[in-house]
Amino acid sequence: MADTRRPLSPHLQIYKWQVQMVTSILHRATGIALAVGTLLVVWGLLSLAAGAAAFDQFKTCMGSPVGIILLVGWSWALFYHLCNGIRHLLQDTGAGYTIPQFVRSSWLSVIVSVVLVIVVWAWVLTAGGAA
């Protein structure tokens, strides 16, 4: 039998952490989170179709502390997946594959997504709180 003590792919534990790894992992993680978040979109639409009482209940849930924490998380996931998704679409054309460009665009995805989520929630808060 082969010696299975050797590190097996993806052996993350022996790599030095780099931003490119983080952006790749985050893209999948946020993708999974957003797939769960689709249920929220459907819930909102169903409550709107069901009538005022159901919609108010939906708004109350979203405006609760837990709801807001989830919304902040989901909005960051959305912005991150959006920024990094655009980065991947550009890379699909063959652009930006030198190592410095790759590292720079990785940081750009992370930073722009954080800036966007801060801007949006700052706007929400100055407009008088969520929901």
């Binding site: 639409l45 709107l48 407009a127």
Partner: protein
């Protein structure tokens, strides 16, 4: 030997139909096309939701009733679930190594996505058509 000099695959491999360029390319392209659509639809959706901040039931309902909004919402819901299924499929194929669990999950996400997409579309139609 081969009619295509660039094809490095053994003809037997090709005949068995186990080479590439089957459904993989279609999956790849559909994921990219839905991604590009979601860049636009996602930004529109976020802007729309933000414009409905503090909106009461009647205002939110009036938004969905507008034909363009209803159309874009349906497009968003369908594209969102479509893209989610393609992404989750890849994640499941990569990480679930027990064949029966993999198949069960692949079928389950498709069932759930169709259910979610139809529920969302039906909700939009009920609101938009006032039924």
């Amino acid at each position: 030997m081969s009619t295509n000099a660039k094809d490095l695959r053994n003809p037997l491999k090709r005949a068995r139909g186990l080479g590439s360029a089957q459904s993989g390319v279609g999956h790849w392209w559909t994921q990219r096309v839905t991604a590009a659509a979601l860049v636009l639809l996602g930004l529109w959706f976020v802007a729309t939701v933000l414009s409905l901040l503090h909106a009461d039931f009647a205002t939110a309902k009036a938004m969905v009733t507008k034909p363009w909004n209803a159309l874009l919402l349906i497009l968003f819901v369908v594209t969102m679930f479509w893209h989610a299924v393609l992404g989750l499929q890849v994640v499941i194929e990569d990480y679930v190594h027990t064949r029966w669990k993999e198949v069960v999950l692949l079928v389950a996400i498709k069932f759930l996505a169709v259910l979610g997409a139809l529920a969302g579309v039906l909700a939009v139609l009920r609101i938009a058509l006032g039924v």
